[in-house]
Symmetry: C2
Subunit: 262 residues, 2 copies
Amino acid sequence: MAGTDSTQPHWATMPYGGPAIILVRPQLGENIGMCCRAMLNNGLLDLRLVEPRDPWPNEKGRAAASGADIVVDAVQVFDTVSEAVADLNRVFAATARPRDSSQIVLTPREAAPTFHSSAQEGIKTGVLFGPEAKGLSNDDVVMADAILAVPLNPAFKSLNLAQAVFCIAYEWYQTGVDMDAWREETSTRGAAPALKKDLIHLFEHLEQELDDCGFLRPPEKRPTMVQNIRIMFQRAQLTDQEVRTMRGIISGLTRKHLRGRR
Amino acid sequence: MAGTDSTQPHWATMPYGGPAIILVRPQLGENIGMCCRAMLNNGLLDLRLVEPRDPWPNEKGRAAASGADIVVDAVQVFDTVSEAVADLNRVFAATARPRDSSQIVLTPREAAPTFHSSAQEGIKTGVLFGPEAKGLSNDDVVMADAILAVPLNPAFKSLNLAQAVFCIAYEWYQTGVDMDAWREETSTRGAAPALKKDLIHLFEHLEQELDDCGFLRPPEKRPTMVQNIRIMFQRAQLTDQEVRTMRGIISGLTRKHLRGRR
């Protein structure tokens, strides 16, 4: 499938594909498009529709996909759930009402490792989602090996279709993402905390100036005041640049003070 | 806030409130409504808008909220970010571009425990989200103590606004949800695996009938055939009822077989 298609390497976020997403009798093209976007956000590429009410492709759907054309263009449409899952080995049914069935119930987080290990063993997986208003029928749920259900506010647990797809795609991606690479990519410029020796020099500079101006009095309170000030600046996790900025601020304020006294 | 309002106990999914969600200059009322729904799905009640382009309340927004009226009706609108965060103690900025800043970057999953521990200590938290098209400005991001960023497909990481809100609300809820209560609520009827003694009786019944009809021949292959059949039925994790069903099936097939021979 697209997920392992070597002609589109820049879309393959993992060295193997994720689950196929199968929307059963979806109603709104717009929701299908939002599902495409949610899938591509999380590196899923294989979307299948069973009897969509709005024909596909569809302009509202493409607009709602916000540029996830690689998913939009690869969508496959089927007449029945049986045909849509025919080439898969393991199928999950996403439903908010697991009680109706006697199948095994997993959360998306619990199921995520299974999607990865299955793909690595060459076992193709998929997840069925029901129509917006009613969810999957019992006949659809029986097509699945197990149920996926999301722990949500019991008083308001009906998810928007694209949110349900997002949730499962997100858990899949989070389980497989290379967090070291992500940290590398998102690490902010020079955000590492300064060396302690530079921080201690800052403290000594500040305390020298505060002694000079008489702030650290009376002497019996000095140790506690120094401790509290050091704790306050420690907590700020100052970077190298920020330590230099603070020393400049102290020098600046001291000069102004001296000028004021002249 | 609403999250701890004793007049609406059935909406309070946790004994304490979650983070306020602050949408900065959101454009579409529909997106705001979808945020309301995503929040209530995950037990968040406190939504704040700063300079929404579409006026609020707004009919498209209410429709998109799909019944999350408790959130829709409690929305507060502010002129500036400063006013929207004034009564909060700790603020995060959700952004896809953490490199622009030198603030600490956490994933929603990493930040979730902080929301819970803060609330339990009486520290009020909030999360800023930027407008659909552009995200938060640098001036907005500087209002925050830390950045929230979601590890996503690097080639397609722009989330729909409601998906971004969902992601953070979901991680908050998952970290606090009482999974024992959830299991209790979702446990499927009689789905527990049968006792091994009943399964062994089923195996013995089946193997007796298979010996009688000559299926388990030649004798030197019998042990392996029996093992493979037992493994197959073990894997199905049969329930009590299913063991009885299987025994009925064996009896039924045997009777038919006998009738066929008469």
